[in-house]
Protein backbone atom coordinates (compact mmCIF):
# COMPACT_ATOMS: atom_id res chain seq x y z
CA UNK A 1 0.00 0.00 0.00
CA UNK A 2 1.29 3.40 -0.95
CA UNK A 3 1.18 6.14 1.63
CA UNK A 4 -1.34 8.97 1.15
CA UNK A 5 0.09 11.89 -0.76
CA UNK A 6 0.93 15.03 1.18
CA UNK A 7 -1.75 17.66 1.42
CA UNK A 8 0.02 19.89 -1.05
CA UNK A 9 -0.43 17.45 -3.90
CA UNK A 10 -2.95 18.54 -6.53
CA UNK A 11 -6.50 17.25 -6.71
CA UNK A 12 -5.73 15.42 -9.94
CA UNK A 13 -2.76 13.65 -8.40
CA UNK A 14 -4.90 12.54 -5.49
CA UNK A 15 -7.57 11.16 -7.81
CA UNK A 16 -4.88 9.37 -9.75
CA UNK A 17 -3.58 7.79 -6.62
CA UNK A 18 -7.11 6.89 -5.52
CA UNK A 19 -7.68 5.20 -8.86
CA UNK A 20 -4.43 3.24 -8.62
CA UNK A 21 -5.21 2.09 -5.13
CA UNK A 22 -8.92 1.42 -5.56
CA UNK A 23 -9.40 0.35 -9.13
CA UNK A 24 -10.85 -3.03 -8.11
CA UNK A 25 -13.18 -1.26 -5.72
CA UNK A 26 -14.39 0.90 -8.59
CA UNK A 27 -14.81 -2.21 -10.70
CA UNK A 28 -17.15 -3.55 -8.03
CA UNK A 29 -18.98 -0.28 -7.61
CA UNK A 30 -19.56 0.23 -11.33
CA UNK A 31 -22.36 -2.35 -11.81
CA UNK A 32 -24.11 -1.15 -8.66
CA UNK A 33 -24.02 2.48 -9.73
CA UNK A 34 -25.07 1.36 -13.20
CA UNK A 35 -28.02 -0.46 -11.72
CA UNK A 36 -29.22 2.55 -9.73
CA UNK A 37 -28.68 4.82 -12.70
CA UNK A 38 -30.66 2.61 -15.08
CA UNK A 39 -33.47 1.36 -12.87
CA UNK A 40 -33.92 4.31 -10.51
CA UNK A 41 -32.65 7.49 -12.13
CA UNK A 42 -33.81 6.79 -15.68
CA UNK A 43 -37.40 6.33 -14.42
CA UNK A 44 -37.04 9.60 -12.48
CA UNK A 45 -36.12 11.26 -15.75
CA UNK A 46 -38.94 9.30 -17.35
CA UNK A 47 -41.48 11.07 -15.16
CA UNK A 48 -41.12 13.92 -17.65
CA UNK A 49 -43.77 12.13 -19.69
CA UNK A 50 -46.19 13.52 -17.11
CA UNK A 51 -45.59 16.87 -18.80
CA UNK A 52 -45.85 15.48 -22.33
CA UNK A 53 -48.52 13.89 -24.43
CA UNK A 54 -46.64 10.62 -24.66
CA UNK A 55 -47.28 8.79 -27.87
CA UNK A 56 -45.55 5.40 -28.09
CA UNK A 57 -45.34 5.78 -31.88
CA UNK A 58 -43.39 9.05 -31.57
CA UNK A 59 -41.26 7.96 -28.65
CA UNK A 60 -40.17 9.82 -25.57
CA UNK A 61 -38.24 12.68 -27.14
CA UNK A 62 -40.59 13.50 -29.99
CA UNK A 63 -43.82 13.52 -27.99
CA UNK A 64 -45.15 17.07 -27.62
CA UNK A 65 -44.96 18.99 -24.35
CA UNK A 66 -48.31 19.76 -22.76
CA UNK A 67 -47.25 21.45 -19.54
CA UNK A 68 -49.51 20.82 -16.60
CA UNK A 69 -52.50 19.60 -18.61
CA UNK A 70 -52.54 16.13 -17.10
CA UNK A 71 -52.31 17.48 -13.57
CA UNK A 72 -55.15 19.86 -14.29
CA UNK A 73 -57.19 17.05 -15.71
CA UNK A 74 -56.61 14.99 -12.58
CA UNK A 75 -57.43 17.87 -10.21
CA UNK A 76 -60.68 18.53 -12.01
CA UNK A 77 -61.39 14.89 -12.64
CA UNK A 78 -64.32 12.92 -11.33
CA UNK A 79 -62.24 10.85 -8.95
CA UNK A 80 -59.80 13.34 -7.48
CA UNK A 81 -61.58 13.85 -4.16
CA UNK A 82 -62.41 10.20 -3.76
CA UNK A 83 -58.88 8.99 -4.49
CA UNK A 84 -57.14 11.44 -2.19
CA UNK A 85 -59.73 10.86 0.54
CA UNK A 86 -59.48 7.06 0.28
CA UNK A 87 -55.69 7.08 0.24
CA UNK A 88 -55.46 9.31 3.28
CA UNK A 89 -58.28 7.65 5.22
CA UNK A 90 -56.98 4.13 4.67
CA UNK A 91 -53.59 5.32 5.87
CA UNK A 92 -55.04 7.22 8.78
CA UNK A 93 -56.95 4.16 9.99
CA UNK A 94 -53.85 2.04 9.56
CA UNK A 95 -51.87 4.61 11.53
CA UNK A 96 -54.51 4.92 14.24
CA UNK A 97 -55.02 1.20 14.79
CA UNK A 98 -52.08 -0.47 13.10
CA UNK A 99 -49.28 1.64 14.54
CA UNK A 100 -50.05 1.23 18.28
CA UNK A 101 -50.95 -2.46 17.95
CA UNK A 102 -47.37 -3.84 18.05
CA UNK A 103 -46.52 -1.49 20.92
CA UNK A 104 -49.45 -2.78 22.94
CA UNK A 105 -48.57 -6.36 22.07
CA UNK A 106 -44.96 -5.83 23.13
CA UNK A 107 -46.07 -4.27 26.43
CA UNK A 108 -48.42 -7.17 27.13
CA UNK A 109 -45.76 -9.73 26.25
CA UNK A 110 -43.31 -7.89 28.45
CA UNK A 111 -45.59 -8.37 31.43
CA UNK A 112 -45.67 -12.14 30.99
CA UNK A 113 -43.94 -13.96 33.79
CA UNK A 114 -43.27 -17.15 31.84
CA UNK A 115 -40.62 -16.74 29.19
CA UNK A 116 -41.70 -20.00 27.58
CA UNK A 117 -45.23 -18.68 27.11
CA UNK A 118 -43.81 -15.47 25.72
CA UNK A 119 -41.76 -17.34 23.16
CA UNK A 120 -44.88 -19.27 22.17
CA UNK A 121 -46.85 -16.05 21.65
CA UNK A 122 -43.99 -14.62 19.60
CA UNK A 123 -43.65 -17.67 17.40
CA UNK A 124 -47.36 -17.74 16.64
CA UNK A 125 -47.77 -14.02 16.02
CA UNK A 126 -44.75 -13.72 13.68
CA UNK A 127 -46.15 -16.44 11.46
CA UNK A 128 -48.55 -14.47 9.22
CA UNK A 129 -45.77 -12.06 8.26
CA UNK A 130 -44.25 -14.69 5.98
CA UNK A 131 -47.43 -15.55 4.14
CA UNK A 132 -47.65 -13.89 0.76
CA UNK A 133 -50.21 -11.17 0.20
CA UNK A 134 -51.88 -13.38 -2.41
CA UNK A 135 -52.51 -16.12 0.13
CA UNK A 136 -53.75 -13.62 2.71
CA UNK A 137 -56.13 -12.13 0.16
CA UNK A 138 -57.25 -15.59 -0.88
CA UNK A 139 -58.01 -16.57 2.69
CA UNK A 140 -59.88 -13.32 3.30
CA UNK A 141 -61.97 -13.78 0.18
CA UNK A 142 -62.83 -17.30 1.21
CA UNK A 143 -63.57 -16.62 4.87
CA UNK A 144 -65.57 -13.47 4.15
CA UNK A 145 -67.65 -14.94 1.33
CA UNK A 146 -71.41 -15.05 1.71
CA UNK A 147 -71.20 -18.74 2.63
CA UNK A 148 -67.81 -18.41 4.33
CA UNK A 149 -66.81 -19.21 7.91
CA UNK A 150 -67.33 -15.69 9.22
CA UNK A 151 -70.87 -15.59 7.92
CA UNK A 152 -71.60 -19.05 9.28
CA UNK A 153 -70.53 -17.86 12.70
CA UNK A 154 -72.46 -14.61 12.31
CA UNK A 155 -75.54 -16.57 11.30
CA UNK A 156 -75.24 -18.97 14.19
CA UNK A 157 -75.13 -15.97 16.54
CA UNK A 158 -78.32 -14.68 14.99
CA UNK A 159 -76.82 -12.03 12.69
CA UNK A 160 -77.52 -11.51 9.00
CA UNK A 161 -74.89 -12.70 6.55
CA UNK A 162 -73.33 -10.10 4.29
CA UNK A 163 -71.03 -10.24 1.29
CA UNK A 164 -68.39 -8.24 3.11
CA UNK A 165 -65.96 -7.80 0.25
CA UNK A 166 -68.68 -6.40 -1.99
CA UNK A 167 -69.77 -3.91 0.61
CA UNK A 168 -67.85 -0.61 0.52
CA UNK A 169 -68.64 0.01 4.17
CA UNK A 170 -66.53 -2.93 5.20
CA UNK A 171 -63.48 -2.42 3.03
CA UNK A 172 -61.41 -0.22 5.34
CA UNK A 173 -62.08 -2.43 8.35
CA UNK A 174 -61.09 -5.53 6.39
CA UNK A 175 -57.96 -3.90 5.01
CA UNK A 176 -56.75 -2.50 8.32
CA UNK A 177 -57.80 -5.56 10.32
CA UNK A 178 -55.95 -7.98 8.06
CA UNK A 179 -52.96 -5.65 8.00
CA UNK A 180 -52.79 -5.80 11.79
CA UNK A 181 -53.33 -9.57 11.76
CA UNK A 182 -50.39 -9.98 9.41
CA UNK A 183 -47.91 -7.56 10.91
CA UNK A 184 -48.55 -7.09 14.62
CA UNK A 185 -46.21 -9.84 15.82
CA UNK A 186 -43.43 -8.91 13.46
CA UNK A 187 -43.77 -5.25 14.35
CA UNK A 188 -43.50 -6.01 18.06
CA UNK A 189 -39.99 -7.48 17.73
CA UNK A 190 -38.31 -4.12 17.63
CA UNK A 191 -40.22 -2.83 20.66
CA UNK A 192 -39.39 -5.97 22.62
CA UNK A 193 -35.73 -5.40 21.89
CA UNK A 194 -36.03 -1.80 23.03
CA UNK A 195 -37.75 -3.02 26.22
CA UNK A 196 -34.90 -5.40 26.87
CA UNK A 197 -32.55 -2.44 26.69
CA UNK A 198 -34.20 -0.53 29.53
CA UNK A 199 -32.06 -0.49 32.64
CA UNK A 200 -33.62 -2.84 35.27
CA UNK A 201 -32.36 -0.68 38.14
CA UNK A 202 -34.88 1.98 37.09
CA UNK A 203 -37.66 -0.48 37.89
CA UNK A 204 -36.06 -1.38 41.20
CA UNK A 205 -35.84 2.28 42.16
CA UNK A 206 -39.45 2.82 41.17
CA UNK A 207 -40.60 -0.14 43.23
CA UNK A 208 -38.70 1.14 46.23
CA UNK A 209 -40.59 4.39 45.76
CA UNK A 210 -43.81 2.41 45.79
CA UNK A 211 -44.74 2.57 42.10
CA UNK A 212 -47.19 -0.10 40.96
CA UNK A 213 -47.02 -1.87 37.62
CA UNK A 214 -49.14 0.70 35.86
CA UNK A 215 -47.05 3.58 37.17
CA UNK A 216 -43.88 1.75 36.22
CA UNK A 217 -45.18 1.41 32.69
CA UNK A 218 -46.13 5.08 32.40
CA UNK A 219 -42.96 6.47 33.93
CA UNK A 220 -40.26 4.03 32.90
CA UNK A 221 -41.33 1.70 30.11
CA UNK A 222 -43.00 4.22 27.82
CA UNK A 223 -40.28 6.87 28.09
CA UNK A 224 -37.77 4.09 27.41
CA UNK A 225 -39.63 3.19 24.23
CA UNK A 226 -40.18 6.76 23.11
CA UNK A 227 -37.15 7.10 20.78
CA UNK A 228 -38.00 3.92 18.89
CA UNK A 229 -41.68 4.84 18.69
CA UNK A 230 -40.76 8.29 17.39
CA UNK A 231 -38.41 6.99 14.71
CA UNK A 232 -40.91 4.44 13.46
CA UNK A 233 -43.68 7.03 13.55
CA UNK A 234 -41.70 9.36 11.30
CA UNK A 235 -41.05 6.55 8.87
CA UNK A 236 -44.75 5.72 8.94
CA UNK A 237 -45.82 9.34 8.45
CA UNK A 238 -43.55 9.57 5.46
CA UNK A 239 -45.55 6.75 3.92
CA UNK A 240 -48.95 8.37 4.30
CA UNK A 241 -49.40 8.41 0.53
CA UNK A 242 -48.46 4.82 -0.08
CA UNK A 243 -50.73 2.00 0.87
CA UNK A 244 -50.07 -1.65 0.32
CA UNK A 245 -51.71 -1.39 -3.04
CA UNK A 246 -50.73 -4.93 -3.94
CA UNK A 247 -53.29 -6.03 -1.38
CA UNK A 248 -55.89 -3.50 -2.42
CA UNK A 249 -55.66 -4.72 -6.02
CA UNK A 250 -56.34 -8.27 -4.86
CA UNK A 251 -59.23 -7.35 -2.58
CA UNK A 252 -61.13 -4.59 -4.32
CA UNK A 253 -63.69 -4.80 -7.08
CA UNK A 254 -65.83 -2.24 -8.88
CA UNK A 255 -68.50 -2.46 -6.20
CA UNK A 256 -66.04 -1.31 -3.53
CA UNK A 257 -64.09 1.30 -5.57
CA UNK A 258 -66.04 3.90 -3.65
CA UNK A 259 -63.94 3.28 -0.53
CA UNK A 260 -61.15 1.03 -1.80
CA UNK A 261 -59.76 2.80 -4.84
CA UNK A 262 -56.55 4.61 -3.91
CA UNK A 263 -54.12 6.70 -5.95
CA UNK A 264 -51.73 3.81 -6.65
CA UNK A 265 -54.46 1.45 -7.82
CA UNK A 266 -55.86 4.19 -10.03
CA UNK A 267 -52.41 4.74 -11.54
CA UNK A 268 -52.21 1.01 -12.17
CA UNK A 269 -55.60 0.86 -13.90
CA UNK A 270 -55.18 3.99 -15.99
CA UNK A 271 -51.52 3.41 -16.81
CA UNK A 272 -50.88 -0.28 -17.12
CA UNK A 273 -54.34 -1.59 -17.99
CA UNK A 274 -55.58 1.31 -20.14
CA UNK A 275 -52.18 2.53 -21.40
CA UNK A 276 -52.82 6.22 -20.55
CA UNK A 277 -49.15 6.55 -19.73
CA UNK A 278 -48.79 10.30 -19.43
CA UNK A 279 -51.91 10.78 -17.33
CA UNK A 280 -51.01 7.95 -14.96
CA UNK A 281 -47.41 9.17 -14.68
CA UNK A 282 -48.68 12.63 -13.72
CA UNK A 283 -50.87 11.16 -10.97
CA UNK A 284 -47.99 8.97 -9.79
CA UNK A 285 -45.54 11.88 -9.77
CA UNK A 286 -47.93 13.97 -7.72
CA UNK A 287 -48.22 11.10 -5.26
CA UNK A 288 -44.43 10.71 -4.92
CA UNK A 289 -43.94 14.45 -4.52
CA UNK A 290 -46.49 14.68 -1.72
CA UNK A 291 -44.99 11.58 -0.07
CA UNK A 292 -41.47 13.04 -0.17
CA UNK A 293 -42.75 16.33 1.26
CA UNK A 294 -44.52 14.50 4.10
CA UNK A 295 -41.37 12.59 4.94
CA UNK A 296 -39.21 15.70 4.99
CA UNK A 297 -41.73 17.68 7.04
CA UNK A 298 -42.36 14.96 9.61
CA UNK A 299 -38.64 14.34 9.97
CA UNK A 300 -37.97 18.02 10.56
CA UNK A 301 -40.88 18.26 12.99
CA UNK A 302 -39.61 15.30 14.94
CA UNK A 303 -36.09 16.65 15.11
CA UNK A 304 -37.40 19.92 16.48
CA UNK A 305 -39.79 18.33 18.98
CA UNK A 306 -37.87 15.30 20.19
CA UNK A 307 -34.35 15.43 18.84
CA UNK A 308 -34.92 12.19 16.93
CA UNK A 309 -34.74 12.10 13.18
CA UNK A 310 -33.99 9.56 10.52
CA UNK A 311 -31.33 11.68 8.89
Amino acid sequence: MSAPLPRRAGRLARLKQDWRRNKWVYAMLAPVIGYFLLFHYVPMYGTLIAFKDFDPALGFAASPWVGLDWFRQFFHGLFFDRLVFNTLLLNLYDLLFGFPAPIVLALLMNELTSSRFRRFVQTVTYLPHFISVVVVAGMLIDFLARDGVINQIVASLGGTPDAYLNNPDWFRAIYVGSEIWQSVGWGSIIYLAALAGINPSLYEAARVDGANRWQQMIHITLPGLAPVIMTLLILRLGQMMTVGFEKVILLYNPSTYETADVISTYVFRRGVLEANYSYAAAVGLLNSAVALTLLVVSNRLSRRLTGNSIW
Partner: protein, 312 residues
Protein backbone atom coordinates in the same frame (compact mmCIF):
# COMPACT_ATOMS: atom_id res chain seq x y z
CA UNK B 1 -25.93 3.68 11.60
CA UNK B 2 -25.66 1.27 14.45
CA UNK B 3 -27.79 -1.46 15.81
CA UNK B 4 -29.55 -0.46 18.94
CA UNK B 5 -29.21 -3.69 20.82
CA UNK B 6 -27.91 -7.08 20.00
CA UNK B 7 -30.01 -8.93 22.54
CA UNK B 8 -32.17 -11.46 20.79
CA UNK B 9 -35.74 -11.39 21.96
CA UNK B 10 -36.58 -14.62 23.67
CA UNK B 11 -33.11 -14.95 25.11
CA UNK B 12 -32.54 -14.51 28.84
CA UNK B 13 -32.66 -10.75 29.26
CA UNK B 14 -32.04 -8.54 32.27
CA UNK B 15 -35.82 -8.22 32.42
CA UNK B 16 -36.32 -11.93 32.83
CA UNK B 17 -33.92 -11.83 35.74
CA UNK B 18 -35.73 -8.87 37.18
CA UNK B 19 -39.05 -10.61 36.76
CA UNK B 20 -37.99 -13.64 38.74
CA UNK B 21 -37.56 -11.80 41.97
CA UNK B 22 -40.46 -9.42 41.49
CA UNK B 23 -42.87 -9.97 44.43
CA UNK B 24 -46.44 -10.99 43.65
CA UNK B 25 -48.48 -7.90 43.49
CA UNK B 26 -51.65 -8.83 45.28
CA UNK B 27 -55.00 -9.72 43.81
CA UNK B 28 -55.02 -6.89 41.30
CA UNK B 29 -51.68 -8.00 39.91
CA UNK B 30 -52.87 -11.60 39.72
CA UNK B 31 -56.05 -10.56 37.93
CA UNK B 32 -54.02 -8.53 35.46
CA UNK B 33 -51.71 -11.49 34.78
CA UNK B 34 -54.72 -13.72 34.12
CA UNK B 35 -56.39 -11.18 31.83
CA UNK B 36 -53.12 -10.59 30.01
CA UNK B 37 -52.54 -14.29 29.43
CA UNK B 38 -56.15 -14.61 28.30
CA UNK B 39 -55.83 -11.77 25.78
CA UNK B 40 -52.58 -13.15 24.37
CA UNK B 41 -54.00 -16.66 24.10
CA UNK B 42 -57.01 -15.25 22.25
CA UNK B 43 -54.63 -13.41 19.93
CA UNK B 44 -52.72 -16.62 19.29
CA UNK B 45 -55.97 -18.38 18.48
CA UNK B 46 -57.06 -15.68 16.05
CA UNK B 47 -53.64 -15.73 14.40
CA UNK B 48 -53.33 -19.46 14.16
CA UNK B 49 -56.87 -20.63 13.50
CA UNK B 50 -57.04 -19.52 9.84
CA UNK B 51 -53.99 -21.67 9.08
CA UNK B 52 -55.45 -24.58 10.99
CA UNK B 53 -58.78 -24.16 9.21
CA UNK B 54 -57.12 -24.24 5.80
CA UNK B 55 -55.15 -27.38 6.60
CA UNK B 56 -58.12 -29.19 8.09
CA UNK B 57 -60.41 -28.13 5.25
CA UNK B 58 -57.94 -29.24 2.61
CA UNK B 59 -57.96 -32.75 4.07
CA UNK B 60 -61.74 -32.94 4.24
CA UNK B 61 -64.19 -34.79 2.04
CA UNK B 62 -65.41 -31.98 -0.25
CA UNK B 63 -69.12 -32.68 0.09
CA UNK B 64 -68.92 -33.17 3.84
CA UNK B 65 -67.05 -29.86 4.11
CA UNK B 66 -69.78 -28.09 2.17
CA UNK B 67 -72.40 -29.47 4.54
CA UNK B 68 -70.47 -28.39 7.62
CA UNK B 69 -71.39 -25.10 9.27
CA UNK B 70 -69.50 -22.97 11.76
CA UNK B 71 -66.10 -23.47 13.36
CA UNK B 72 -64.18 -26.34 11.85
CA UNK B 73 -62.16 -28.26 14.39
CA UNK B 74 -61.18 -31.46 12.58
CA UNK B 75 -61.35 -32.80 9.01
CA UNK B 76 -64.82 -33.70 7.81
CA UNK B 77 -64.17 -37.15 6.48
CA UNK B 78 -60.75 -37.59 4.96
CA UNK B 79 -59.67 -37.16 1.38
CA UNK B 80 -56.45 -36.37 -0.41
CA UNK B 81 -58.23 -35.87 -3.70
CA UNK B 82 -57.72 -32.11 -3.65
CA UNK B 83 -53.96 -32.52 -3.21
CA UNK B 84 -53.93 -35.06 -6.04
CA UNK B 85 -55.65 -32.54 -8.31
CA UNK B 86 -53.37 -29.71 -7.30
CA UNK B 87 -50.34 -31.88 -7.92
CA UNK B 88 -51.70 -32.92 -11.32
CA UNK B 89 -52.18 -29.31 -12.35
CA UNK B 90 -49.37 -28.35 -14.75
CA UNK B 91 -49.68 -24.66 -13.83
CA UNK B 92 -48.93 -25.36 -10.19
CA UNK B 93 -45.87 -27.37 -11.13
CA UNK B 94 -44.51 -24.87 -13.60
CA UNK B 95 -45.30 -22.09 -11.12
CA UNK B 96 -43.25 -23.83 -8.50
CA UNK B 97 -40.40 -24.32 -10.94
CA UNK B 98 -40.49 -20.68 -12.07
CA UNK B 99 -40.51 -19.42 -8.52
CA UNK B 100 -37.57 -21.63 -7.68
CA UNK B 101 -35.58 -20.25 -10.61
CA UNK B 102 -36.43 -16.67 -9.63
CA UNK B 103 -35.65 -17.18 -5.95
CA UNK B 104 -32.31 -18.89 -6.60
CA UNK B 105 -31.17 -16.79 -9.54
CA UNK B 106 -32.54 -13.50 -8.25
CA UNK B 107 -31.15 -13.91 -4.77
CA UNK B 108 -27.70 -14.87 -6.07
CA UNK B 109 -27.58 -11.75 -8.21
CA UNK B 110 -28.93 -9.65 -5.31
CA UNK B 111 -26.26 -10.92 -2.95
CA UNK B 112 -23.40 -10.57 -5.39
CA UNK B 113 -24.22 -6.97 -6.27
CA UNK B 114 -25.12 -6.00 -2.71
CA UNK B 115 -21.75 -7.37 -1.51
CA UNK B 116 -19.93 -5.42 -4.21
CA UNK B 117 -21.75 -2.21 -3.37
CA UNK B 118 -21.46 -2.64 0.38
CA UNK B 119 -17.75 -3.45 0.14
CA UNK B 120 -16.99 -0.52 -2.13
CA UNK B 121 -18.91 1.91 0.06
CA UNK B 122 -17.35 0.63 3.25
CA UNK B 123 -13.95 1.89 2.00
CA UNK B 124 -13.63 5.08 3.99
CA UNK B 125 -10.72 6.31 1.87
CA UNK B 126 -12.55 6.02 -1.42
CA UNK B 127 -12.61 9.40 -3.20
CA UNK B 128 -16.25 9.14 -4.24
CA UNK B 129 -17.65 7.41 -1.18
CA UNK B 130 -19.96 10.21 -0.01
CA UNK B 131 -21.38 11.18 -3.40
CA UNK B 132 -21.94 7.51 -4.27
CA UNK B 133 -23.69 6.95 -0.97
CA UNK B 134 -25.96 9.97 -1.48
CA UNK B 135 -26.67 8.78 -5.01
CA UNK B 136 -27.95 5.47 -3.65
CA UNK B 137 -29.73 6.74 -0.54
CA UNK B 138 -31.70 9.28 -2.55
CA UNK B 139 -33.49 6.44 -4.36
CA UNK B 140 -35.00 5.40 -1.04
CA UNK B 141 -36.93 8.62 -0.83
CA UNK B 142 -37.96 9.37 -4.36
CA UNK B 143 -38.83 7.10 -7.22
CA UNK B 144 -40.05 7.55 -10.74
CA UNK B 145 -43.20 5.61 -10.02
CA UNK B 146 -44.94 2.71 -11.62
CA UNK B 147 -45.48 4.02 -15.15
CA UNK B 148 -41.93 5.21 -15.98
CA UNK B 149 -40.62 1.93 -14.56
CA UNK B 150 -43.03 -0.04 -16.65
CA UNK B 151 -42.09 1.90 -19.78
CA UNK B 152 -38.39 1.37 -19.07
CA UNK B 153 -38.79 -2.38 -18.73
CA UNK B 154 -40.87 -2.42 -21.89
CA UNK B 155 -38.33 -0.36 -23.84
CA UNK B 156 -35.52 -2.61 -22.68
CA UNK B 157 -37.45 -5.46 -24.28
CA UNK B 158 -37.75 -7.33 -21.01
CA UNK B 159 -41.51 -7.97 -21.11
CA UNK B 160 -42.18 -11.68 -20.89
CA UNK B 161 -38.66 -12.35 -19.72
CA UNK B 162 -37.59 -13.44 -16.24
CA UNK B 163 -35.08 -10.58 -16.22
CA UNK B 164 -38.02 -8.19 -15.88
CA UNK B 165 -38.63 -9.25 -12.29
CA UNK B 166 -34.96 -9.74 -11.44
CA UNK B 167 -32.96 -6.84 -12.91
CA UNK B 168 -35.14 -3.93 -11.70
CA UNK B 169 -34.80 -5.29 -8.16
CA UNK B 170 -31.14 -6.28 -8.32
CA UNK B 171 -30.06 -4.19 -5.32
CA UNK B 172 -32.08 -2.89 -2.41
CA UNK B 173 -30.58 0.31 -1.03
CA UNK B 174 -31.81 -0.68 2.42
CA UNK B 175 -30.07 -4.06 2.40
CA UNK B 176 -26.93 -2.49 0.99
CA UNK B 177 -26.80 -0.09 3.91
CA UNK B 178 -27.28 -2.93 6.40
CA UNK B 179 -24.45 -4.94 4.87
CA UNK B 180 -22.22 -1.90 4.61
CA UNK B 181 -22.64 -1.28 8.33
CA UNK B 182 -21.60 -4.88 9.01
CA UNK B 183 -18.53 -4.51 6.75
CA UNK B 184 -17.52 -1.27 8.45
CA UNK B 185 -17.65 -3.04 11.81
CA UNK B 186 -15.00 -5.56 10.71
CA UNK B 187 -11.66 -4.63 12.32
CA UNK B 188 -9.26 -3.10 9.85
CA UNK B 189 -6.43 -5.44 10.92
CA UNK B 190 -7.95 -8.39 9.07
CA UNK B 191 -7.82 -6.46 5.84
CA UNK B 192 -4.31 -5.14 6.42
CA UNK B 193 -3.02 -8.63 7.11
CA UNK B 194 -4.60 -9.92 3.91
CA UNK B 195 -3.12 -7.05 1.90
CA UNK B 196 0.34 -7.74 3.20
CA UNK B 197 -0.17 -11.28 1.94
CA UNK B 198 -0.83 -9.75 -1.48
CA UNK B 199 -4.62 -10.10 -1.59
CA UNK B 200 -6.55 -7.81 -3.94
CA UNK B 201 -9.98 -6.35 -3.18
CA UNK B 202 -11.90 -9.31 -4.61
CA UNK B 203 -9.95 -11.75 -2.48
CA UNK B 204 -10.44 -9.57 0.58
CA UNK B 205 -14.18 -9.33 -0.03
CA UNK B 206 -14.71 -13.04 -0.60
CA UNK B 207 -12.20 -14.46 1.84
CA UNK B 208 -12.25 -11.95 4.66
CA UNK B 209 -15.38 -9.81 4.75
CA UNK B 210 -18.01 -12.29 3.56
CA UNK B 211 -16.95 -15.10 5.93
CA UNK B 212 -16.83 -12.64 8.84
CA UNK B 213 -20.24 -11.17 8.06
CA UNK B 214 -22.02 -14.40 7.24
CA UNK B 215 -24.90 -13.91 9.73
CA UNK B 216 -25.77 -10.50 8.30
CA UNK B 217 -25.41 -11.86 4.79
CA UNK B 218 -27.81 -14.67 5.67
CA UNK B 219 -30.39 -12.20 6.94
CA UNK B 220 -30.07 -10.00 3.88
CA UNK B 221 -30.26 -13.06 1.62
CA UNK B 222 -33.40 -14.23 3.39
CA UNK B 223 -35.03 -10.82 2.92
CA UNK B 224 -34.30 -10.98 -0.79
CA UNK B 225 -35.43 -14.59 -1.09
CA UNK B 226 -38.70 -14.02 0.74
CA UNK B 227 -39.43 -10.99 -1.42
CA UNK B 228 -38.86 -13.05 -4.59
CA UNK B 229 -40.94 -15.93 -3.22
CA UNK B 230 -43.88 -13.71 -2.27
CA UNK B 231 -43.85 -11.32 -5.23
CA UNK B 232 -46.74 -11.36 -7.65
CA UNK B 233 -47.42 -7.81 -8.74
CA UNK B 234 -44.57 -7.28 -11.18
CA UNK B 235 -44.95 -10.73 -12.70
CA UNK B 236 -48.60 -9.83 -13.19
CA UNK B 237 -47.79 -6.71 -15.18
CA UNK B 238 -44.71 -7.97 -17.02
CA UNK B 239 -45.74 -11.52 -17.94
CA UNK B 240 -48.39 -12.55 -20.40
CA UNK B 241 -46.72 -15.87 -21.15
CA UNK B 242 -48.34 -18.33 -18.78
CA UNK B 243 -45.31 -20.61 -18.88
CA UNK B 244 -43.43 -17.96 -16.92
CA UNK B 245 -46.03 -17.48 -14.18
CA UNK B 246 -44.54 -17.89 -10.70
CA UNK B 247 -46.48 -19.74 -8.03
CA UNK B 248 -48.00 -16.59 -6.52
CA UNK B 249 -49.56 -15.65 -9.84
CA UNK B 250 -50.95 -19.16 -10.21
CA UNK B 251 -52.29 -18.83 -6.68
CA UNK B 252 -53.90 -15.55 -7.56
CA UNK B 253 -55.79 -17.19 -10.40
CA UNK B 254 -56.97 -20.01 -8.18
CA UNK B 255 -57.74 -18.02 -5.04
CA UNK B 256 -58.66 -14.55 -6.15
CA UNK B 257 -60.03 -14.79 -9.66
CA UNK B 258 -61.44 -18.11 -8.61
CA UNK B 259 -60.61 -20.37 -11.52
CA UNK B 260 -60.30 -23.92 -10.36
CA UNK B 261 -62.02 -25.18 -13.50
CA UNK B 262 -58.94 -26.69 -15.05
CA UNK B 263 -58.53 -28.91 -12.01
CA UNK B 264 -62.14 -29.95 -11.71
CA UNK B 265 -62.45 -32.01 -14.87
CA UNK B 266 -64.12 -35.31 -14.22
CA UNK B 267 -65.66 -34.18 -10.99
CA UNK B 268 -69.23 -34.00 -12.19
CA UNK B 269 -70.83 -34.54 -8.81
CA UNK B 270 -70.01 -31.84 -6.26
CA UNK B 271 -68.01 -29.68 -8.66
CA UNK B 272 -68.40 -26.67 -6.46
CA UNK B 273 -67.42 -28.68 -3.42
CA UNK B 274 -64.17 -29.98 -4.87
CA UNK B 275 -63.38 -26.45 -6.09
CA UNK B 276 -63.30 -25.32 -2.49
CA UNK B 277 -61.02 -28.04 -1.21
CA UNK B 278 -58.74 -27.47 -4.19
CA UNK B 279 -58.33 -23.87 -3.06
CA UNK B 280 -57.42 -24.92 0.44
CA UNK B 281 -55.02 -27.57 -0.80
CA UNK B 282 -53.38 -24.96 -3.04
CA UNK B 283 -52.84 -22.66 -0.09
CA UNK B 284 -51.31 -25.51 1.88
CA UNK B 285 -49.02 -26.53 -0.96
CA UNK B 286 -47.89 -22.97 -1.57
CA UNK B 287 -47.36 -22.08 2.07
CA UNK B 288 -45.86 -25.32 3.28
CA UNK B 289 -42.26 -24.65 2.21
CA UNK B 290 -42.05 -21.37 4.08
CA UNK B 291 -43.79 -22.82 7.13
CA UNK B 292 -41.52 -25.85 7.09
CA UNK B 293 -38.34 -23.78 7.22
CA UNK B 294 -39.87 -21.08 9.39
CA UNK B 295 -38.67 -22.46 12.77
CA UNK B 296 -35.12 -22.54 11.43
CA UNK B 297 -35.32 -19.06 9.99
CA UNK B 298 -36.94 -17.41 12.95
CA UNK B 299 -33.77 -16.40 14.74
CA UNK B 300 -32.39 -14.92 11.52
CA UNK B 301 -35.54 -12.90 10.98
CA UNK B 302 -35.45 -11.51 14.49
CA UNK B 303 -31.86 -10.48 13.92
CA UNK B 304 -32.86 -8.95 10.62
CA UNK B 305 -35.38 -6.61 12.19
CA UNK B 306 -32.76 -5.51 14.68
CA UNK B 307 -30.27 -4.84 11.89
CA UNK B 308 -32.67 -2.88 9.78
CA UNK B 309 -35.09 -1.38 12.20
CA UNK B 310 -33.28 1.29 14.12
CA UNK B 311 -30.77 3.67 12.79
CA UNK B 312 -29.25 6.73 14.24
Amino acid sequence: MTTMTTTETGAETPQAARRRWRPRQGWLGFLFDCANAGVLLALCFVTFYPFYYVVVASLSQPVALMAHQGLLLWPQGFSLEAFQRVWDNPMVRSGYFNTLVIVLGGTSLNLLLTCFGAYALSRRRLAFETPAMLFIVFTMFFSGGLIPNYLLVRDLGLLDSRWAIVLPFAVSAWNLIILRAAFIAVPKDFEDAARIDGANDFTILFQVYIPLCLPTLAVVGLFYAVAHWNGYFYSMIYFTDRDLFPIQLVLREILVTNSTDSMMTGAAAGREAIGNTIKYATVVVATLPILAIYPFLQRFFVKGVMLGGVKE
